[in-house]
């Protein structure tokens, strides 16, 4: 780990001033990902601006009746919050499915959104990686990729985004707020992450030097009937090989409203809008759910060793939507 300077900020303007647009400086939140990446040499900042003590640690009602979650709210406080559990259960479940109790106590909402892929080639500085070292190549495509992307990847990078929380936020139409020295801005969660294309090292649409200040969930009746299911190769304390966040409103046996997002299949939380279109207005049954999943997954471009993810996601969509439909009927 390279030597670095450390400064602690106590308010947003102070944090932005300390960062001062310095490309070699990084905001430090919970540190659960950044400190690890600094140890392995993937990240080599010259300066850290500690934002953990910014007054952004509250969850409060938003003006439109939704919920505003501060950027420094820890994952565990988010998952334990009664309003989150009542109105957005998929979000609580997604957060609880991630990492471990210790890591959830440390990790912040803002940091979770900015966490880097867990692709083993990315983490190994001795290995080529277009995301870490643009132009060096992607060994995963011809190498180990059984937990890599099947949707939206490119010939430059097939890494997946590791967040569970982000998948639920994508399904729940969350918006990300940020501030820069020149003012505040907002992005929908789905626009927050950039497509891979030829620039896998460019991951988010945040302006340079911007600080995430919070996430806003819209008021949404459908979200109360939502669920997150995660499949992994160990029952806990492991990243997903596939996950689904879904919210469903069924009326008279028909899908009235639905939100669907996939995790661990793309470089970003994957909002399954094609499936949503197929689902909406159709019958709330397993056959229709499967057809919708197939429509979404028609765009999948699996590699030789991750084709199982297509089957997995199809089955997960059917299972999760069937459970939600059953619950709605209760």
């Amino acid at each position: 780990m390279r030597e670095f300077g450390y400064q602690r900020a106590y308010d947003v303007s102070g944090a932005l001033a300390l960062l001062d647009g310095d490309g070699e400086a990084r905001f430090l939140g919970g540190g659960t990902n950044l400190v690890d990446l600094m140890k392995t040499g993937v990240e080599r900042p010259a300066r850290l601006v500690d934002v953990r003590e910014l007054p952004l640690n509250r969850i409060e009602p938003a003006e439109d009746g939704g919920l505003r979650i501060g950027a420094t709210v820890t994952n565990s406080d988010l998952a334990a919050h009664p309003e989150v559990r009542r109105r957005y259960p998929a979000l609580a479940q997604a957060v609880l499915a991630g990492a471990s109790g210790q890591l959830r106590n440390m990790a912040t909402v803002g940091g979770n959104l900015l966490q880097r892929t867990r692709c083993g080639y990315f983490a190994d500085v001795d290995s080529p990686c277009n995301k870490r070292d643009p132009g060096s190549g992607c060994p995963a495509i011809a190498g180990e990729h059984h937990n890599h992307a099947v949707l939206g990847a490119s010939g430059h990078c097939v890494a997946t985004h590791p967040s569970d929380m982000g998948v639920a936020l994508a399904a729940l139409d969350a918006r990300v707020s940020y501030e820069t020295a020149s003012g505040a801005g907002e992005l929908s969660l789905t626009d927050f992450y950039l497509p891979v294309g030829e620039t896998p090292h460019r991951e988010t649409a945040l302006p340079p030097g911007a600080l995430i200040t919070g996430v806003t969930l819209p008021a949404d009746g459908t979200a109360a009937n939502s669920r997150y299911r995660k499949v992994r190769e160990r029952a806990s304390y492991a990243f997903a090989i596939g996950s689904v966040a879904a919210a469903l409103d069924v009326r008279d046996g028909q899908v009235h409203d639905v939100r669907l997002a996939f995790g661990a299949v793309a470089s970003r939380p994957w909002r399954a809008r094609t499936a949503e279109r197929v689902l909406t207005g159709g019958p709330a049954d397993a056959e229709h759910f499967a057809a919708a999943a197939d429509a979404e997954l028609a765009a999948a471009r699996p590699l030789p060793h991750n084709g199982y993810k297509v089957t997995l996601m199809r089955n997960l969509v059917v299972a999760v939507l069937s459970e939600l439909a059953e619950e709605a009927a209760r």
């Binding site: 540190g31 659960t32 400190v35 559990r85 609580a92 471990s100």
Partner: protein
């Protein structure tokens, strides 16, 4: 002028204040082990992947290997050396000892610190990934073996003492509940 790469700071550990100068690269884990000679907190992976370095930070279980020491200033650190009171083992420690909740002992301080927090988190009605219904109206889930296993999963034990660890956590939780009642 390049920023200073070290700081003078005061760490509060187990109720005592310690003043030291740290290289900013120093993690809380290394500060405890190498600088304060508190080696009860273990380094199993140094990457947040095993839980051996679990300490309580302002009462919440955290991984000391991913916590920079400089960023821990102003927070209260509780390590395995600080959980017994007046020489009396904490109920979790006693249960681990009695029920043989360990073999080699290296993951044990982390398991114990984690278990202390698990019991408190459960008492605060936090749900877990195996809680069937997370809505607050559903009420707190009983602390079943399945709940304990999920909540303790951030602490790996390669010897495989999991079965007796879960029994120890369950016993300590019962005792804690009894004591609070």
């Amino acid at each position: 002028m390049p920023p200073s790469t070290s700081s003078d700071l005061t760490l509060s550990v187990n109720g005592e204040k310690y003043t030291l100068t740290v290289d900013h690269r120093t993690t809380l884990l290394d500060a405890l082990r190498e600088r304060l000679d508190m080696t009860g907190t273990k380094k199993g992976c140094d990457q947040g992947q095993c839980g051996a370095c679990t300490v309580l930070l302002d009462g919440r279980r955290s991984l000391a290997c991913l916590q920079l020491a400089v960023a821990a200033e102003g927070r209260e650190v509780t390590t395995i050396e600080g959980v017994a009171e007046d020489g009396r083992l904490h109920p979790v420690q006693q249960a681990f000892l009695d029920l043989d909740g360990f073999q080699c002992g290296y993951c044990t301080p982390g398991q114990i610190c984690s278990a202390i927090a698990v019991i408190e988190e459960h008492a605060a009605c936090w749900p877990s990934a195996v809680t069937g219904d997370v809505r607050p109206e559903a009420g707190p889930p009983p602390l079943t073996p399945e709940e304990i296993r999920e909540r303790m999963s951030g602490n790996l034990c390669r010897c495989g003492a999991y079965v007796s660890i879960v029994q120890a956590v369950a016993r300590a939780a019962e005792e804690t509940k009894g004591a609070a009642a």
